[in-house]
């Protein structure tokens, strides 16, 4: 019997998990607020970043509503500028950058290593509270005069506007520390806490991607901190670093800013790719194709990613030579990302594919990320970028990568690890329906924006020529449908908490270590040391109807076939 059929037995056994686990081992506010358990911290992060996502989503909907008509629809110029700035700042700094590492990295990383916790549990908790502190500053900035600089804080606009730039910068500065703490913690954990048998090349690919991400977090984020410190110093003390009126150079700010913010794009997308590698392999029941390449390419992308920041500045007046060098480097970093897509396809080849909800999201990811990546070619090529830069083409491109890529992968992870995290199975029907909605509405929202951009519609425009109205309206309709689909996905999961079937230890038949412990895991993750094994040896798992989940295959069963007998 397959997972597919299991859902039809919709017997919603509504009983609390009986064994002691990390969720029910202690109670009360402080058992959460002062916890050092990485799993509880992950849940707090998950809820918090989803809250930020909701806030950023509300701003997005307001933007799309305003753009329904070419002139004023619901708000004035300044309110619109504040709204798109806050949409960008909340989504990038509070949601996408922390999302996968902080929620899924924290939850899964130690368990995948067979460890009890991360290397520095207190630092992990501190990172969470830094996030909260940073978020409070950003919220304070919203209340105290708002923010209208765009999330990019370009000088000299940001040094002269009268919105709360200083408060917001302090917020982002603090968030940067939260990110550094997480990265540092993960690097040390992976170096010191792997079991002896788990060599680097027996690590699941999600861990490789987290490792690459952590390197960027640790190396690039301090640059953002310095940049914002200088910005605050300039605003508060008028020291003249970026403002030409004081002898500064505004373009210098852009170099600083993108030196962090381009690598930050890889902080967002690398762990997303890691999740997709896990899911494609498990639901095709095949080891990932070209494991070593996928692992190395994460590191390669992380390092090359430091060398391409100038591609955001082709029109800034940077010299021709630097534009050409940055364009060439940009193409070179696109190769490893592109090849990963081929690796995923080859993993599916001759697999035994089952379209569970996480797999549907993973396939959506491939579709959307491919569009996001290919449209990047138009922007990496100098001649076309000059026309497309700062238009809706760019807006569409990065939403395909960040939202179609990272967000979709984040949700894929949510549905994949949900049973492990909560001990409950959700309805596959509603899960897939939500996925289909997200996928379709996403394309409806963002595809028209490619056309808008190529036709010359600049980004961050409050008023626009009436000829563009049709495209904007399609996009707005898409945005509402997208919001509705995300709510379907959310309700599917919330519903499962109350009425879902109890999850087995290993519902998907995955071979990485987190599936060897009960769902939800006990406080210290494993009752006994997990068995050594290849994380992609999926044939080691066999479906057991008694458990309505998978268990290790015993030797005699293994001889029969390499086929998946769960059918």
């Amino acid at each position: 019997m397959s997972v597919l059929q299991m859902e039809t037995e919709s017997a919603a056994v509504n009983e609390r998990p009986s064994a002691e686990n990390y969720l029910n081992c202690s109670h009360g506010f402080w058992s959460w607020a002062a916890t050092r358990d990485h799993k509880r911290i992950a849940i707090m992060y998950l809820i918090s970043v989803l809250g930020a996502f909701l806030l950023g989503g509300i701003f997005a909907i307001l933007i799309r509503m305003e753009l329904w008509t070419p002139q004023r629809t619901i708000m004035d110029h300044d309110t619109y500028n504040h709204t798109f700035t806050l949409h960008g700042a909340v989504m990038t700094f509070l949601f996408i950058i922390p999302s996968i590492p902080a929620a899924w990295g924290n939850f899964v990383l130690p368990v995948m290593l067979g460890a009890k916790d991360v290397a520095f549990p207190k630092m992990n908790l501190a990172s969470y509270y830094l996030w909260v502190g940073g978020a409070l500053f950003l919220l304070a900035a919203i209340v105290l005069g708002g923010l209208d600089t765009g999330w990019t804080f370009y000088t000299p606009y940001s040094t002269t506007t009268n919105s709360s730039v200083i408060t917001a910068s302090i917020g982002v500065f603090i968030l940067g520390f939260s990110s550094i703490f997480t990265g540092l913690n993960f690097i040390v954990t992976m170096h010191t806490m792997r079991p002896v048998w788990m060599t680097w090349f027996r690590m699941p690919l999600f861990l490789w991607s987290l490792y690459a991400t952590s390197i960027i977090q640790v190396l690039a984020t301090p640059v953002l901190g310095i940049t914002l410190t200088l910005l605050v110093a300039e605003r508060a003390l008028g020291i003249g670093i970026f403002d030409p009126k004081l002898g500064g150079d505004p373009v210098l700010f852009q170099h600083f800013f993108w030196f962090y913010s381009h690598p930050a794009v890889y902080i967002m997308i690398l762990p997303a790719m890691g999740i997709i590698s896990e899911i494609i392999s498990v639901f095709s029941r095949k080891p990932i194709f070209g494991y070593r390449f996928v692992a190395y390419s994460s590191i390669a992308i992380a390092l090359l990613g430091f060398l391409v920041w100038g591609h955001h500045m082709f029109t800034s007046g940077q010299s021709r030579i630097s534009a050409i060098v940055f364009s060439a480097l940009t193409f070179s970093v696109s190769i490893p990302s592109g090849i990963k897509v081929f690796n995923w396809l080859a993993t599916m080849y001759r697999g035994s594919i089952i379209l569970t909800t996480p797999m549907c999201y993973a396939l959506s990811f491939i579709f959307l990320f491919t569009i996001g990546g290919l449209t990047g070619l138009f922007l990496g090529a100098l001649a076309t970028d000059i026309h497309l830069h700062d238009t809706y083409f760019v807006v569409a491109h990065f939403h395909y990568v960040m939202m179609g890529g990272t967000l979709v992968s984040f949700i894929a992870g949510l549905f994949y690890w949900w049973p492990k995290m909560t001990g409950r199975m959700y309805s596959e029907f509603w899960g897939r329906l939500g996925c289909f909605g997200v996928f379709a509405a996403f394309n409806l929202t963002f595809f028209p924006q490619f056309i808008l951009g190529a036709r010359g519609m600049p980004r961050r425009y409050y008023n626009y020529p009436p000829e563009f109205q049709l495209y904007h309206q399609i996009s707005t309709v898409g945005a509402f449908l997208l919001g509705a689909s995300l709510f379907v996905a959310a309700f599917t999961l919330i519903h499962s908490l109350f009425r879902g079937r109890k999850a087995p230890a290993n519902p998907w038949g995955a071979a990485s270590l987190e599936w060897q412990t009960s769902s939800p895991p006990p406080l210290h993750n494993f009752e006994s040391d997990p068995c050594a094994g290849d994380p992609y040896d999926l044939d080691s798992q066999i479906y057991d109807p008694d458990l309505s989940g998978y268990r290790f295959r015993v030797e005699s069963e293994r001889l029969h076939s390499t086929n998946d007998s769960a059918i």
Partner: protein, 322 residues
């Protein structure tokens, strides 16, 4: 949505589905590269998504289906699918690079126009010193813009020419183009610059050969031929004052001009000021010297950009508003 409506929308300005009209030779080159990348991307997209769907269908888990052996790596295959895209990328890079050099390398002989951007208007200064808010150029002649900004970063974008360049305060940037079609083309600000970023619009007007010089001469003499209040009104509209100052009593970013002449108004530092000729002149040349209470000090200075005669005309215009 109806594809016909969509095509109709795109054809209103003579453009194609993807682009507005191409007004220069370089625009055509850019479009060529765009379509080349588009063709390659479409091919790879269909290949990837096609394979994905085919695999989902033929390898779907189902009763009686047994997964066959497949290797978990294959060096030849991996090299092939790295090298082929790499070659195509080099091709794209190379075309982008040569197109870019064409865009950035003006011919030896150019007609030079100076551009100053400020929140939220453009000033184009012709070689004879005449300044206007719209860009007039002769057809089939290389035009070079030498540009700077007075306040924050702006970006001059002419979609029909497929060119864009930032205007950075404190330094000069430049760009050039050679329009090969007579007509009117939108000119926009592409770098976010605050409240009315989206209204910082103007036009490029490409004159037929021989007519540009005539236009320039007439326009330059207009100031001296019009009565001062009317010349002032023209300047008010063309030089961006209208973005911030209204002619009726409504306050925009700056105070209204209507009915204030001769009145006393409070300043931000607590004192009051009589609005007379001297005050208006000072406000235009040194706006930060006296800032009206309730307004932000955002008015750009027009020192060196409005001649005495023009300032006089503006004063007469403000006086005339009752």
């Amino acid at each position: 949505m109806d594809p016909k409506t969509m095509m109709a929308v795109s054809e209103t300005d003579g453009g194609s589905f993807w682009f507005p009209t191409a007004g220069t030779q370089i625009a055509k080159e850019v479009d060529g590269l765009f379509y080349f990348i588009l063709a390659l991307s479409t091919f790879f997209f269909l290949l990837i998504v096609g394979l994905m769907l085919v695999f989902v269908v033929i390898y779907r888990r189902r009763p009686g289906y047994a997964r066959k052996f497949a290797p978990d790596h294959n060096s030849t295959l991996e090299v092939v699918w790295s090298v082929i895209p790499a070659i195509l990328l080099i091709l794209i890079f190379f075309q982008g690079f040569t197109g870019f050099l064409d865009m950035r390398t003006p011919p030896a002989e150019t007609y030079e126009i100076k551009v100053v951007a400020k929140k939220w208007s453009w000033a184009f200064q012709y070689p004879n010193g005449y300044i206007e808010g719209e860009l007039h150029v002769p057809v089939d002649r290389a035009v070079k813009l030498t540009m700077t900004s007075d306040d924050v970063i702006h970006s001059l974008y002419i979609p029909s020419f497929r060119i864009k360049m930032d205007l950075v305060p404190g330094r000069y940037s430049s760009m050039w183009f050679q329009a090969n079609q007579v007509g009117d083309f939108p000119l926009l600000c592409a770098e976010y610059c605050g409240t009315k970023h989206s209204d910082m619009l103007s036009r490029v007007i490409v004159h037929p050969s021989g007519e540009f010089e005539k236009w320039l001469e007439q326009a330059s003499n207009l100031m001296s031929t019009l009565p001062p209040p009317e010349a002032g009104k023209l300047l008010y509209n063309r030089r961006g004052c209208a973005q911030c100052h209204s002619m009726d009593a409504t306050a925009r970013t700056g105070p209204s001009f209507s009915g204030t002449f001769g009145t006393s108004q409070p300043l931000a530092d607590g004192t009051t000021v009589l609005i007379d000729e001297n005050y208006i002149r000072e406000s235009i040349l040194e706006p930060m010297a006296k800032v009206r209470a309730g307004y932000r000090p955002v008015m750009p200075s027009y020192k060196g950009q409005l001649k005495d005669l023009e300032i006089d005309a503006i004063i007469e215009f403000i006086k005339s508003l009752k």
